[in-house]
Point group: C2
Chain length 478, copies 2
Amino acid sequence: MEQLRDRLAELVDLEGLDMLATWDQLVMMPSDGAANRAHQLGTLTRVRHERATATEIGAWLDQLEERDLEGIDRDIVRLARRDWERARRVPTTLAAQRSSAHAEAQQCWQRARERDDFAEFAPALERNVELARAYGECLAEDGRTYDALLDDYDFGLRSEELRRLFATLAQELPRLVAAVQERARAPALPVPALAQRRAVDATLAKLGVERASWRVDVSAHPFTAWIGRGDTRLTTRYGDGEVESLLSSLHEFGHALYERQIDPALERTNLGHGTSMSIHESQSKLWENHVARSRAFADVLARELGETGFAVEPADLHATLVDVRPSLVRVAADPLTYPLHIILRFELELAMIGGDLSVRELPAAWNEGVRRLLGLEVPSDALGCLQDIHWAAGSFGYFPSYALGCLIAAQLWETLEAEIGPRTDDLRRGEVRAIEVWLGERVHRHGRRLDTIPLLEQATGHGLQTEPFLRYVSSLRA
Amino acid sequence: MEQLRDRLAELVDLEGLDMLATWDQLVMMPSDGAANRAHQLGTLTRVRHERATATEIGAWLDQLEERDLEGIDRDIVRLARRDWERARRVPTTLAAQRSSAHAEAQQCWQRARERDDFAEFAPALERNVELARAYGECLAEDGRTYDALLDDYDFGLRSEELRRLFATLAQELPRLVAAVQERARAPALPVPALAQRRAVDATLAKLGVERASWRVDVSAHPFTAWIGRGDTRLTTRYGDGEVESLLSSLHEFGHALYERQIDPALERTNLGHGTSMSIHESQSKLWENHVARSRAFADVLARELGETGFAVEPADLHATLVDVRPSLVRVAADPLTYPLHIILRFELELAMIGGDLSVRELPAAWNEGVRRLLGLEVPSDALGCLQDIHWAAGSFGYFPSYALGCLIAAQLWETLEAEIGPRTDDLRRGEVRAIEVWLGERVHRHGRRLDTIPLLEQATGHGLQTEPFLRYVSSLRA
């Protein structure tokens, strides 16, 4: 058991270094360092893969599975077996190829996006799709290549299940959009970038973000890196006249808090991270949709903006934050149309991996999908299929978790308020401690000990539901 | 050969990641991340050590040494044999212990230095000394533990040689100090930190530091990290009313330029770094002493400071930059007294490693040495034995290279000017291209293909000399 734990701790350390090198690449690295970083990440992945798939682990597991283990040790062995079996199916060279292709493609994507030039990105994306398919085929059972990719992010979920859930959303959401759109639009708020920055810093400080164990930086696409205990890094971006940073900073805070509240006993084991991307995304969406977009919390945000010299009425700020208008950019989407952005990406990546859509055809297919689902014309690929980093990073099968996150967040929030009472008064004062405690207890502390559905059932008494989310979006601006 | 090259490339990648994690620790990391980073660095060192000492490398070398290799391949094999033999003598666990002890000690040192509390640092330093001794004993021949540590930084140098060279300096320098001190002191220049920062950025830009492949940041102790091709990072620090940043930024630039001008054919091999710490330090000292401290270059620095609104006469600035006054802090020392700081540290670390001086006695011994060599009283450990990061980082045997660097820089500079003519006119205009080219050709491009002394002989026609340096310091403020 000690040998297994040592190896798992080593893998956690190497994973943290990978996250650091990736964070650095996106936030700090000079652009000419890209090729070198690709080598470094490739080597790191190869080394991790070799050590994660070593034959001796199988022998340790065989022995340990014969013992009557309990508690954490039992779960460590159970997950180690699952991870080892999956990792053994992927050749070391393929793992390294993927890692260095993804690093190069991200650099390429950044340039292509700046220049609005999809052709510059296309070869790298083609390579990523091929490698993702090859990877999925190593892992797939019954030829379900895409489901195998999905397992990396949400173990046990199936694309049929997603199709069903998404069909309900695709049916219900456009109706709600139409109803809400008849109302007057909220006025745009010309919040200067600097005011946002100060308000974001002050708001995060209220939630417990302090310099001794956090960093808040700027990157092209907001993300969170948990480098390890006492070292959490979130990023956002500040655009003049936009309010995105007020939402995305709380979104990333939700991811970060999840990792920080995992039971310390699971640290440096294979159980010490969030259990799945959909649960992770439920944590970010809970803070984005149910805290940052609440009428009560608008009092806090408006007050902090006021401190910077930008005066705004809380009610006006709230109206802007929940304003429903179909838009082109996913990360800036309102909570009602957001899942439609995901449904589009899910359709497209399913088709690309399945070989039914070539990379060359992607921009046209994207633009057609945006027309169909959101009723909008895409003026440029930069605002279309070049907007997200995920495919550049090789993360096929990741997008669905964003929509599931919205559903699960709503489900958790209803349960939370039913159990500890409405949060309105607390949120008006920026008091979130009770929320953090409830989430820590019901969701965070378990780490990977419970998979998505068992965790959800344990926390809410139900499996995946669409109703709480539909109730939430129906209530927007009511 | 291909297998060997692949392994060496992998080791270069892991070394680059180590440098990145170390840079991040000193420049970016939240302080609470220290324990976790220590784990990560420990794991990285253990993995590198295992892969650098693998049995198969010995088998590859046995085969390759029978072939009639030429050029780069021959040197790759020669150095791979040397490195492999040395690394094999160090147990993996000791290597990992050192790495994680050093990471923790650095964090501890930073706190102790801030609070001027040596006692807080002492246990970590004791541990570092013990581990350095254990490490040296693994490598030592004929019980020369300290020489074995020296080999890590300057292969082939011996402490007797250092004693001889340092004895000459200890005899000559105090006399020169006394002579120079009779002159009037240069007035202090109250340069604001912000003006320094802007002038440093502008001056570095003149030397070719551009954002696509460089970073310039702030850290407690200036240093340079070469993460890999196209990714060079130097740090400095800016104190109101100090001029240190004008010198230390050029000092670090010298280190960085060395790594950047190594023959690209040596990249991702075991030859692709600077050959030794003394040659490395000669490069930084050349830019610090012979460029930044030249009367001609003062024109450039004064002009850049003027641009920021801080008016200063070049002659006054120059007088301040070469002002000789025995001082407490090594990195702020003038070029004449600088080697005396090193002689002190060399004596003390020799005694600590030899077991003749306990860590508890260090502050008193330090203060006595400063009195004897520099004629000063040490008012606090923060300005005494806590001032340098090196022992916290476990770098025993590193300090001598700083003094050797001063000697070699003077030797190279005399040769350079004899061959391509005095640099005065160029430096007045901030034109350094010819210097960069000469250094690239005679020093940088060789990487590790030549050790310290052969490289020096090839570049200057002589081994280590003290005369050029003594001529240089005699000329200061002449």
